[in-house]
Symmetry: C2
Subunit: 328 residues, 2 copies
């Protein structure tokens, strides 16, 4: 028999061997030990689920990147694209009558479609946690603390968490069309003060909100900055958003605060989050290596109307940082 | 918005929670500690691969049960159906020039299509090991020993390994048509002496082999049985097959021998294996919970012509046995 050589895996997939496996196992061991000590129970959801589980909570961006196929019963299924959706489903079904708060954690692969040739992975390892059924600032702090301690536990000390609260910005965008809001979100994300000033000059946004919007790119810093932000809050929910961040700041220890930068332009997850939102940056990684926040309305989409807060870290990015550090 | 309730996972899939997860993690920890101590390196292959990887070595039965879909590049891919195929591919590609013997191990999910309603899992956890590049009886014993010690390490003491050598039977079937051989294999598997005697009487098999075939169902027992089997061996390869088993028996310790039952009718994997073959049975499990043997021609299909021996255990079955034991 003649065979073509077999030596390839599909684009974006990879074999993990030797050192890479050992590093992954070390990260997982540190993560599970810490999460277990804090009362977080691991959940291992199926590798593929009915695609609806992921499209329901994940939004159009995630939906467009699902790795889908038709199951034997003719229904559309998708490889796990994120753990939060699967855990929301579990919380709304098997754990619907379990006492709250539920503390759940996970580590494993997620799968996302990439355009061929982009060179990005389609199989990625993630680890993370969700606390379900606690709406308090103490709940926010518990999850932030777990995140900070995870970074230390895996051996990464030089990192920063950009922490915002989407409720500060949301009122500023409320009366805009979808397109206007998207353009403004882009400008906020880029911290593009000129574009924000132009939008204000064009009369696009609510009278009185102009100064808040133009100042938004400067509302970044340690706890003191929150005092100035409070003066710029438009309406009650924006004021509460700042009050919440100030309360979190008080609950954190000085060592924890050293990793936190408050950033009120941190609104990546505006459509999804309902309170605090954060991204994790580390020296040596060119982009955020983790994300999280509060999503009090997400679980209702799955039939369990409960507040929730959580985070996810990109395990591969953690491994890469540790490999870089070992090579220095 | 109105949603249908989400509370289901696809048929044959499941969520693992709490105790089930802890048990799985305990089994994995014991397995990795043991395998690592014996020099076996973990490999984590992609979750889906080009389907050819699985059809090439897996045979028609496995091919018919692949969970397939079309990848973004238009090629057919399949969820990992067994680890041995993926590891054969790795051994023939990235590890093609690594020094032998290669000692590789794994633990994770495999995916197999089941007819709906059969109630069997489509996601199963397996763990196992492959030793590549060593054709010796010592290699056989190393892998058998790793299997025995794995059972003890996870906490299962009451088990038995039925160990045969497909080269004892292969000469008896050589001149038969495919259908005749299949019928005879079925009779051997059922230990159906009457059917075997009928086949001999019908003149189907090689003159002189009749007695061996009729006696086959009785060729089961401890090491002493191998002496009688040697007398019934037809041809050189059958004699070598018995000699190999006798050598293995001498290399095993008395405590190890206590778990071994030689069974020359153990030919489940006749198409795949080329030497020893075994199945693992445990008190409380109604079927084999593990399988293994030597497959010296398999890796050539992937472009790396090397002898190999290995085993796979069904992790879910191990977990079930441990749960039963805890409940007694």
């Amino acid at each position: 028999m003649q065979f073509l050589p077999i030596s390839h895996v599909p684009v974006g997939s990879q074999d993990l061997l030797a050192e890479d496996v050992r590093l992954l196992r070390r990260i997982h061991a540190a993560w599970y030990a810490l999460a277990e000590a804090r009362g977080y129970e691991e959940v291992i959801p199926p590798t593929f689920e009915y695609e609806e589980v992921f499209t329901r909570g994940g939004g159009p961006e995630l939906a467009s990147r699902l790795v889908r196929f038709v199951d034997q019963d003719g229904r559309l299924v998708a490889l796990r694209a994120d753990f939060t959706s699967s855990i929301a489903r579990v919380a709304a079904s098997r754990l619907a009558s379990a006492p709250v708060p539920l503390r759940l954690c996970y580590a494993g692969k997620v799968f996302r479609q990439e355009a061929a040739g982009e060179g990005r992975r389609r199989e990625m390892f993630q680890l993370g946690a969700e606390m379900i059924g606690d709406a308090s600032a103490e709940g926010d702090v518990e999850v932030i603390r777990l995140l900070l301690d995870t970074m230390h536990a895996v051996g990464i000390a030089d990192f920063q968490v950009n922490l915002g609260n989407v409720e500060f910005v949301r009122p500023l965008l409320e009366r805009l069309s979808f397109e206007e809001a998207e353009a403004l979100r882009g400008a906020i994300d880029r911290k593009d003060r000129a574009a924000l000033a132009a939008a204000v000059a064009a009369g696009e946004i609510e009278p009185g909100a102009g100064r808040s919007l133009v100042e938004l790119p400067t509302l970044i810093g340690r706890g003191e900055m929150l005092i100035r932000a409070a003066e710029l809050a438009i309406g009650e929910s924006a004021s509460s958003a700042i009050e919440r961040l100030r309360r979190i700041d008080r609950l954190l220890t000085p060592a924890e605060r050293a990793h936190i930068v408050y950033d009120l332009g941190e609104i990546r997850g505006l459509g999804y989050y309902t309170g605090i939102q954060f991204e994790v940056f580390a020296a040596g990684a060119g982009r955020a290596i983790g994300v999280g926040g509060r999503y009090d309305h997400l679980l209702a989409l799955y039939g369990a109307d409960r507040p929730a807060v959580g985070f996810a870290l990109e395990t591969d990015a953690l491994a890469e940082l540790l490999t870089q550090a070992a090579q220095r």
